[in-house]
Amino acid sequence: MTIFEKITTAMTEHPTTIEPALCIRCKTPKSDCSLCADRCPVGAITLSGAGPEIGPDCLDCGVCYAVCPTGAFDRKRGGDEEIIAGMGERLAGKEICRISCLRGDAEADLLVHCLGRLTERLLLQPLHLNPLARLEIIQPLCKDCPMGGSIALFADLLTRVGHFYDLLGAGRERISITRIPLHPVRHNSTAGQNGSRREFLGAIRGKAMDMATAMSPEHARTGVPAPAVSERQENRKRAALLELLRSLVEKRELRPVRIPARESITAPLAVNSRCTACGACAAVCPAGALKLEKNSEIISLLFRADLCVNCGVCAGICRDGAVERHETVLLSRVLATDDVELFTASRQECQICRLDFIGQGVDGICPLCLDIHRRQQETIKNIFATPSREL
């Protein structure tokens, strides 16, 4: 490849891609998940019927990648793996891991574009490297920073990570925050550019984007319309976090930590008697945590706590309001790999529509067919009962 080709490839091959099969918004357009678009510090992400799309303003900061619970965003460069690979060396022998952003302390051990880029995995890795590790987060005055929008969920992230530290017996006191004033953007060759260089590179990027668009319109966009068939994809972000947690747990005794459901990365689901075993929740679950299983006698709804991302789409979608969430959850549940049976009932097959149904049927006819018959009779009655109408 020539130098020019190398540059254009680097410019046009966007480091962040979106997997529609994992995106909550793509699978269930009615869900109002907008985490990526809300947290993007420059508003580069637009949400449409086809899902999220990353626009040309993208700074490549990785906050969208960090914030998406299902791991729908994937990064070829600058993902968690890359940062973790360099951590071992930088933290060798150190007990305190100092973490900061480009506008904070440039001498920190772990430096990110913005603290919004941090994930549970990045904040737990130091503990894996050194069992006595402590985190010192040096946070500048975010509200004065133009990227300040991405910090809104940072406190929630620290709460969640604190729970994990408690769970592992390390204690949430190991995480401390030091506030400092907002510094100007540092010259850091690995992390970012200053104003004028950014403008220059932005101009090149713009030109390269135009060229790429002219050449192949489909490949220039990073957002892809939702796939016709929703193939289940693995949430690799969750898998990596669980792998780290399991290795941390090996050397420790787990504390019984019970936390409020909204602070948990997995939902304590319950299904009440209103369930009709329609399977909608299992079909829309972006993490594949719910499964509707049938044999000739029984229909059951099975749940995997380790896969659940606590997005709430299952409860929102259920037209009978059968899916609920307990108030609190035992955090160690996130490590469980067993299928929990949330609901089970004996299966019948409708004589008319041949659908599986449970519960109240009449003469082997499902409640839906009975209701449809009633509705059609009423419609017919109405058509002749009401007086004639102007067209």
């Binding site: 357009p29 009615k30 399977g279 929102g316 009978d320 659908l355 449809i372 059609q376």
Partner: protein
């Protein structure tokens, strides 16, 4: 956590989700001449290759009027009402679908189920006031009348309209059909639309 069924809009609030575009193709059925032969049902079945138990066009028999006595003028009449999909202006099925598998086309107002996206949950069947969408047990997805969109796109009429032996089904753009009704059947009582504008704004016109 979201509210119970928070994502399911009811048919009235579905107004924000879709409306009748500039063109709405529809069917006009004059019930005066429908003899209940079910040829339309059969033609539809043949055209769309529907499995057993699934009929896009169902014909119902209705008795109207009261029998007074043998001397009084006959007051009882039987009507046959064929009911395809109403291709509503505010489809309840579209609003109810949790995965957005149902869309209403801009160019001709035909409401279609995308079978690749459909998860077979039957919410559309629960929502439709006419109980139209049906479950295909083999494909495990929902199906409904497509107004023979594959024929309409080629400039043909739906199979049920072409086949009617009493020539009592008409197909066309809604405005044109309304004009036709007023011209040809001005003496006839018009039933207008089943349900009317207060619910899902159905498109199929009935007269008797």
């Amino acid at each position: 956590m979201s509210e119970r069924g928070a994502f399911i809009a009811d048919e009235v609030t579905a107004a924000s989700l879709s409306k009748k575009g500039p063109k709405q193709y529809t069917i006009w059925v004059d019930l005066e001449f429908c003899v209940g032969c079910h040829a339309c049902t059969m033609a539809c079945k043949a055209e769309n290759n529907t499995p057993v138990g699934v009929d896009y066009n169902r014909v119902t028999e209705v008795e109207v009027g009261e029998f007074k006595d043998a001397k009084a003028k006959p007051g009882v009449r039987v009507y046959f009402v064929p009911m395809p999909c109403m291709h509503c202006g505010r489809p309840a099925c579209l609003a109810a679908c949790p995965v957005g598998a149902i869309t209403k086309r801009e160019e001709d107002g035909i409401v279609l189920i995308n079978k690749d996206k459909c998860i077979g949950c039957r919410y559309c069947a629960w929502a439709c006031p006419y109980g139209h969408p049906q479950f295909n047990a083999e494909a495990k997805v929902m199906e409904k009348c497509t107004l023979c969109v594959h024929r309409v796109e080629k400039g043909l009429k739906p199979a049920c309209v072409d086949t009617c032996i009493a020539r009592t089904r008409f197909f066309g753009e809604m405005g044109d059909l309304v004009r036709l009704v007023n011209e040809k059947r001005s003496k006839r009582v018009s039933l207008g639309f089943i349900g009317g504008e207060t619910t899902t704004d159905p498109s199929v016109i009935y007269t008797k």
